[in-house]
């Protein structure tokens, strides 16, 4: 049995090319000295990387995106835990409705969400605030957090908790010593996926963010509307480099497959 026939190999090669080519091109362009996007080129320069230093709003937007992603994902995960445990264990009235409600942001176009949040936040006085950003991002990353949390909650043998109870553990102890540690891999993966989605979000955020609360993608989006120079490519290259470093670090610490697939690594 040959798993990698010529066709499969060609397919994989094409797939990887399509995935990686744009990223590589962006990285190449980041090192060009020209004042416009030029590719290919044979001259190299770090000019556009130094240029980032002259735009502190990019740096600020980067940190804001990090915080926004970290915070909204953490809150989304915290909300997911009780929801996932309830959905996984109990057949209660409104269970389907609750699942559908939590998953619904996946179905609504982000443009629509953006317009809706813009109106809503303006009405309640949260227009253009970081709080507004966090709230809206919680909504869009919740499905991702819930998916993976739910997967690990469903996969858990209830008998394990029953065993702890029969040994005299209180409900709180069971939650802290047994349930949470066992769903932790799902929580970590859910958080990571939520973070990536938050960090990446531009369609909705561009409506909500104001000067001073722009996220990195929004800042870049606004920049290329007025400028044609390769600054955004050098910013992108930095983000790519940080992402790669983070993935390597995570892989060392956890194992990437386990993290992204949300599989618990202790092979029960």
């Amino acid at each position: 049995m040959s798993r990698n026939g010529p066709l499969a190999l060609a397919y994989h090669a094409l797939f990887v090319t399509f995935m990686l080519a744009p990223i590589l091109v962006v990285c190449f362009v980041a090192f060009t000295p020209e004042g416009y996007l030029s590719f290919p080129t044979d001259r190299w320069s770090l000019r556009w990387f130094y240029a980032i230093g002259r735009y502190p709003e990019f740096i600020a937007a980067f940190w804001r995106s990090l915080w926004l992603g970290a915070l909204s994902s953490a809150i989304a995960v915290a909300l997911s835990v009780p929801a996932a445990l309830a959905i996984a264990r109990y057949r209660f009235r409104g269970r389907e409705a609750m699942t559908a409600l939590f998953m619904s942001p996946l179905m609504i176009p982000h443009v629509v969400l953006g317009v809706a949040f813009l109106r809503f936040f303006t009405q309640i006085g949260l227009g253009g605030t970081f709080t507004g950003l966090v709230l809206s991002h919680i909504v869009i990353v919740l499905p991702f957090a819930l998916r993976l949390t739910l997967a690990s909650a469903v996969g858990m043998d209830r008998a394990i908790e029953h065993a702890a109870i029969s040994l005299g553990a209180s409900d709180a102890t069971v939650l802290r010593r047994i349930t949470l540690p066992l769903v932790l891999p799902g929580l970590v993966s859910g958080w990571a996926l939520a973070f990536i989605n938050s960090f990446d979000e531009v369609t909705m955020t561009v409506f909500i963010a104001a000067p001073g609360t722009e996220t990195l993608p929004v800042r870049m989006f606004l920049y290329i509307q007025d400028n044609i120079d390769p600054l955004v490519t050098s910013v992108s290259a930095c983000v790519i480099a940080i992402t790669v470093l983070a993935l390597v670090a995570l892989d060392r610490a956890y194992g990437l497959e386990r993290l992204l697939v949300g599989r618990s690594g202790d092979g029960r």
Binding site: I160, H162, I165, S166, L167, G168, S170, I178, L182, D266
Partner: protein
Amino acid sequence: MTFLALEGLGKRFGSHVAVDGLTLGVEKGEFVSLLGPSGCGKTTTLQMIAGFVEPSAGAIRLEGRDLLAVKPAKRGLGIVFQSYALFPHMTVAENVAFGLEMQGVAADERRRRVGETLELVGLAAFSGRFPRQLSGGQQQRVALARALVIRPRILLLDEPLSNLDAKLREEMQIELRQIQRTLGTTTILVTHDQAEAMALSDRLVVMNQGRAEQVGPPHVVYERPATPFVASFLGRTNLVAGETVRPEKIVFAATGLAGKVRTRIFQGNHWLYQVETASGLLTVIRQNSGEAMPGEGEQVHLAWGKA
């Protein structure tokens, strides 16, 4: 007074009756098995004793006190689950120590008792391992140690040996019986394996469709099954003129029921016969004593002592 009493215990799931008016008394130190086909309500019964399923009828008393009023965490029962349900993120020693920790036993004392109990189940060398690093039989013994170490008032075992291969299962049966004898812990075992139930128990409860069909010592239940269901569930039986006759009780004799050997199968320590008679096809089991036995197609006479 009866140590543990199930009084008219019942459980229905919607319109389905899983356990139907089960009444049973268990004495202190006794080993009782709930035996019956899949879906007859054994696990449900055990879970009601453990407190994880709420009965829809009846009462459970432990030393005369209403057990249903006690929270599952306060019942002080040791449970070995069919899936073992070990804590996968804790080592063997931590698994076993968990119950003692919940009881507030001091660290020194805890360590000593964990060591003792692991010694008892033959796993002293494995205390630092995680459950995933153990074989099925070893995991099963950890589950047993975890349940025993808290000195439970009752040990509840839900098909604890069903995941093991035949040889290991037999070893574990012997070990389980020895441990239970040594500690004198009142034990209720759930199983659908009749050999296991008969090998281990002081008394059997043969269950069918949520009811106890017969309760008694294994040899009594086997020799004098109260209902056709019990007779057919416990080993091979012949039904001759409304009477059940165990295949190993039938001998070849000079006179008796005439028949013709249809098949003869050699099974090492015994021969298995199918004999055509006027009362239908009868199964006969004879010990292999090395003597010549009737062959296929031969005319024979069958006799058995009246029970």
